[in-house]
C-alpha cells in the first residue's frame, strides 16, 4: 500500500534528513529569488521521487560517503608531507646562514652569540640511546620469556595488565620519579662506585636509566604478544624431540617470533631516541661533549625543550630548533623504513 511505503520511507532517517535538507534548500533558493537553480533542484527532486527513490539515495550516499572517506584518508598523507615541508622550510633560514657541516660537526652551541653546533648533542643522544637500549633489551627479553613461558598462570594474569597500564604512564611522571630517586642514587652511590666522585646526579647515565625503565613495558608487552602467537604445536614438537625448555625457547620460539621481537626493539629504540621531557628533567641540560657518563649532557629532543623559550628573542634560534626537529623526523623516517625492510626479509626467512 502506498501509505505504508511512504511512512516506512519517512522512518529511514537518511531519507528523512535528505528530504528535510532539500526542502530547506528550496526555501533558501526561493528566498534568494534564484529561479533557475530553484527549477533545477525541483526537477532533481521530482526525478528522485519517481525514479526508484531508495536505490538512488543509497547509491548517492555510497558514492558520496566513499569520496568523503577517500578525502580524509588522502588528508593524512597530505599532513605527513606538510609536516616534512614545514620543517624543511623552517630550517632553510639556519641552513642559509651556516653550512650543514658546521651545524653537524661543530660542538659549540651558543645561541646568544650565534653559534649552533650540534655535534656534542648528537654524540650525547647516541650515547644515551645506546646505553638505555643496552640495559633495556636483554632485561625486557628475558622477562618477556619468563612471563610467557615459565611463569605460573596466576602470576601472568597479574603482570600483563600491570605492564600494559605502565606502558601508558606519561613520561613526565617517569621524569619526576627519576628526579626524586635516580638523581640522588647516581650522585651518592653509582657515580662514586665507578670512581667519578664529583657528579651532580644530573647525568647521561641517569637519563639512560630512566629511558630504559620507560622502554621496559613497551618491549615486554609487544614481545609477549608475538611469543603468544607462536603455535603450540611447534613448541610441543620441539619438546617431544627431547629439547629442554630453554632450548625450545632459544631455537624455536625466538625464530618463530623473530620479526615481532625485532619490531618491539625498533619501537623501543624510537621511544628512547625521541623522549623529551623525562630526559630534559634529569640530564643536566649542558651542550658538552661528555667526559664521563656521569657528567651532564643534552639530547636532540631535550635541546628543543630547554631552548624553546628564547625563540621569540632570537629569531634564528627558532630555525635552529626546527632543524633539530627535522633531524629527529628524518632519523625516525629512515629507521622506520629500514625496520620495514628488515622485517619484510626476516618474516620471509623465519617462516614456519
Amino acid at each position: 500500500m502506498p501509505s505504508s511505503t511512504l511512512s516506512s520511507l519517512f522512518k529511514n532517517k537518511i531519507v528523512l534528513g535528505g528530504i528535510v535538507s532539500l526542502l530547506l534548500s528550496f526555501l533558501f533558493l526561493f528566498l534568494l529569488n534564484n529561479i533557475i537553480l530553484f527549477a533545477v533542484f525541483l526537477i532533481i527532486f521530482i526525478i528522485l521521487l519517481f525514479y526508484n527513490f531508495i536505490t538512488v539515495t543509497r547509491k548517492l550516499y555510497d558514492s558520496l560517503g566513499s569520496r568523503l572517506m577517500l578525502l580524509v584518508t588522502a588528508s593524512i598523507i597530505f599532513a605527513f608531507f606538510l609536516l616534512l615541508a614545514v620543517l624543511i622550510n623552517g630550517s632553510l633560514h639556519i641552513l642559509s646562514e651556516e653550512s650543514l657541516s658546521s651545524l653537524l660537526f661543530s660542538s659549540t652551541w651558543k645561541p646568544f652569540s650565534g653559534e649552533f653546533g650540534l655535534f656534542a648533542v648528537i654524540i650525547d643522544t647516541l650515547i644515551v640511546t645506546a646505553i638505555s637500549m643496552l640495559i633495556a633489551v636483554p632485561i625486557s627479553l628475558l622477562s618477556a620469556i619468563y612471563i610467557a613461558e615459565y611463569a605460573p598462570k596466576r602470576f601472568r594474569n597479574i603482570v600483563r595488565p600491570f605492564i600494559d597500564v605502565l606502558a601508558g604512564v606519561p613520561s613526565v611522571v617517569f621524569g619526576l620519579c627519576a628526579l626524586l630517586v635516580f638523581v640522588p642514587l647516581v650522585r651518592d652511590h653509582i657515580a662514586p662506585f665507578f670512581g667519578s666522585s664529583i657528579s651532580s646526579g644530573f647525568s647521561l647515565f641517569t637519563a639512560s636509566l630512566i629511558l630504559a625503565i620507560m622502554v621496559f613495558p613497551i618491549i615486554i608487552s609487544l614481545c609477549l604478544e608475538s611469543f603468544n602467537s607462536v603455535p603450540i604445536a611447534l613448541k610441543e614438537a620441539s619438546l617431544s624431540l627431547g629439547a629442554t625448555k630453554w632450548e625450545t625457547v632459544k631455537k624455536v620460539i625466538f625464530r618463530a617470533s623473530g620479526p615481532g621481537v625485532l619490531a618491539a626493539i625498533f619501537l623501543g629504540f624510537g621511544r628512547a631516541f625521541g623522549e623529551t621531557i623525562a630526559v630534559s628533567m634529569v640530564i643536566g641540560n649542558q651542550e658538552l661533549i661528555p667526559k664521563s657518563l656521569f657528567g651532564p649532557g643534552q639530547t636532540l629532543a631535550s635541546l628543543i625543550a630547554s631552548n624553546y623559550t628564547e625563540v621569540s628573542s632570537i629569531p634564528i634560534l627558532a630555525s635552529a630548533l626546527i632543524f633539530v626537529a627535522l633531524i629527529l623526523f628524518v632519523v625516525v623516517l629512515i629507521f622506520n623504513i629500514l625496520g620495514y625492510l628488515v622485517l619484510r626479509r626476516a618474516s620471509k626467512r623465519w617462516k614456519y
Partner: protein
C-alpha cells in the same frame, strides 16, 4: 647434571633477576608517586585554580590545569577519532588496493614513531609564521590531534583486520553498499578495538608534555576561548619542579598523582568497555 640443564638453570636465574628488576623498578615508580603525592593532596588543591601564588607557596590548587588538560585532550581525541575511524575503515581491501593501503600504513607508523616534540615544533612554526606568541589552546589541540591520529588509526586498523571476511561478504550479498557495510557491520564488529584505540589515544594525549609545552603557554585561569593560553597537568608538573622552594616542588607529586590516577582510570574503563562491547561480536 649435564651442560644443557646447567644452561637452563643459569638462564632461569637470569630471567628471574630481570623480572625482579623490571617489576621492582615499575612498582618503585608508582610507589614514589603515590606515597609522595597522596599526602599533599587535599580538597582545596583539587577545587581551586592556581591564581594567587600557587607557585610561591601560598594556597590555591590546580583545578585550572585539570580543566585545561581535559579541554586539550577531549577535543583532540574526538577529532582524531573521527579522522582515524574513517581512515581505518577506508584502508580495507574493499575500498583500496592493498599496496596503497600498506603505503598509508607505513606513513602512519612513521607518524606514530615521530617524537611528540616534533609535533610541538610543527605547531610552534605555524604559530610563529602567523605571528602568534605565547601559545593557545587551539594549537595545543592541533598538536595533540596529530599525535593521536596514528595511534587511534593503527589500533582500529588492527582490530578491523580481525573482522571475518564471511561477515562482510554476507552483508554484500544482502545488497548493502560498501559504505553501509563499513559503517554498520564492520564498525560494530570492530567496536572493542575502536574503544581501546580511542582510550589509548586519550591516555597518550592527556599525558604528553612535549607537544603541549611548546604550544599552550601557561595561565592561572580557566581558558575561555580557543586563542587563550592554558595550563595543563604535564606542563604544571614541569613548572612546579623548576621552582626553588621545596614545599612548592612537593606539589608536583600531587599533580603527578592526579595524572597517574587519570591514566589508571582510563585503563580500567578500557577493560570494562572492551569486555562489554565484545558481547555483541559475531565470531
Amino acid at each position: 647434571m649435564n651442560r644443557r640443564n646447567i644452561e637452563e638453570k643459569i638462564f632461569i636465574t637470569l630471567m628471574l633477576a630481570s623480572v625482579f628488576i623490571v617489576m621492582g623498578s615499575l612498582v618503585l615508580i608508582v610507589a614514589v608517586i603515590v606515597l609522595n603525592g597522596a599526602p599533599s593532596l587535599s580538597l582545596e588543591i583539587l577545587t581551586q585554580t592556581s591564581e594567587g601564588g600557587f607557585y610561591l607557596g601560598a594556597g590555591g590548587g590546580f583545578l585550572n590545569a585539570i580543566v585545561g588538560s581535559l579541554l586539550l585532550a577531549l577535543p583532540a581525541t574526538g577529532l582524531a577519532f573521527l579522522i582515524g575511524v574513517v581512515i581505518a575503515l577506508y584502508l580495507q581491501k574493499d575500498f583500496m588496493r592493498p599496496s596503497i593501503a600498506n603505503f598509508i600504513r607505513i606513513c602512519l607508523d612513521i607518524l606514530w614513531g615521530v617524537p611528540s616534540v616534533v609535533y610541538g615544533v610543527f605547531c610552534l612554526t605555524i604559530m610563529i609564521a602567523i605571528g602568534m606568541t605565547g601559545g593557545s589552546l587551539l594549537f595545543g589541540i592541533i598538536a595533540l590531534t596529530l599525535l593521536e591520529i596514528p595511534i587511534i588509526t593503527r589500533s582500529i586498523d588492527e582490530s578491523i583486520k580481525m573482522v571475518p571476511v564471511g561477515l562482510k561478504e554476507s552483508a554484500y550479498s544482502l545488497g548493502s553498499t560498501k559504505v553501509e557495510t563499513a559503517m554498520k557491520v564492520v564498525r560494530r564488529q570492530a567496536m572493542p578495538g575502536i574503544i581501546a584505540g580511542v582510550l589509548l589515544g586519550f591516555g597518550r594525549g592527556i599525558g604528553d608534555a612535549a607537544s603541549i609545552l611548546l604550544t599552550v603557554g601557561d595561565s592561572n585561569y580557566f581558558p575561555t576561548s580557543l586563542s587563550d593560553q592554558t595550563a595543563a597537568l604535564p606542563t604544571m608538573i614541569l613548572n612546579l619542579v623548576s621552582m626553588p622552594d621545596q614545599v612548592v616542588q612537593n606539589k608536583a607529586y600531587a599533580v603527578a598523582f592526579v595524572l597517574l590516577m587519570i591514566v589508571l582510570l582510563i585503563s580500567i574503563i578500557t577493560r570494562y568497555l572492551t569486555k562489554k562491547s565484545s558481547k555483541h561480536i559475531i565470531k
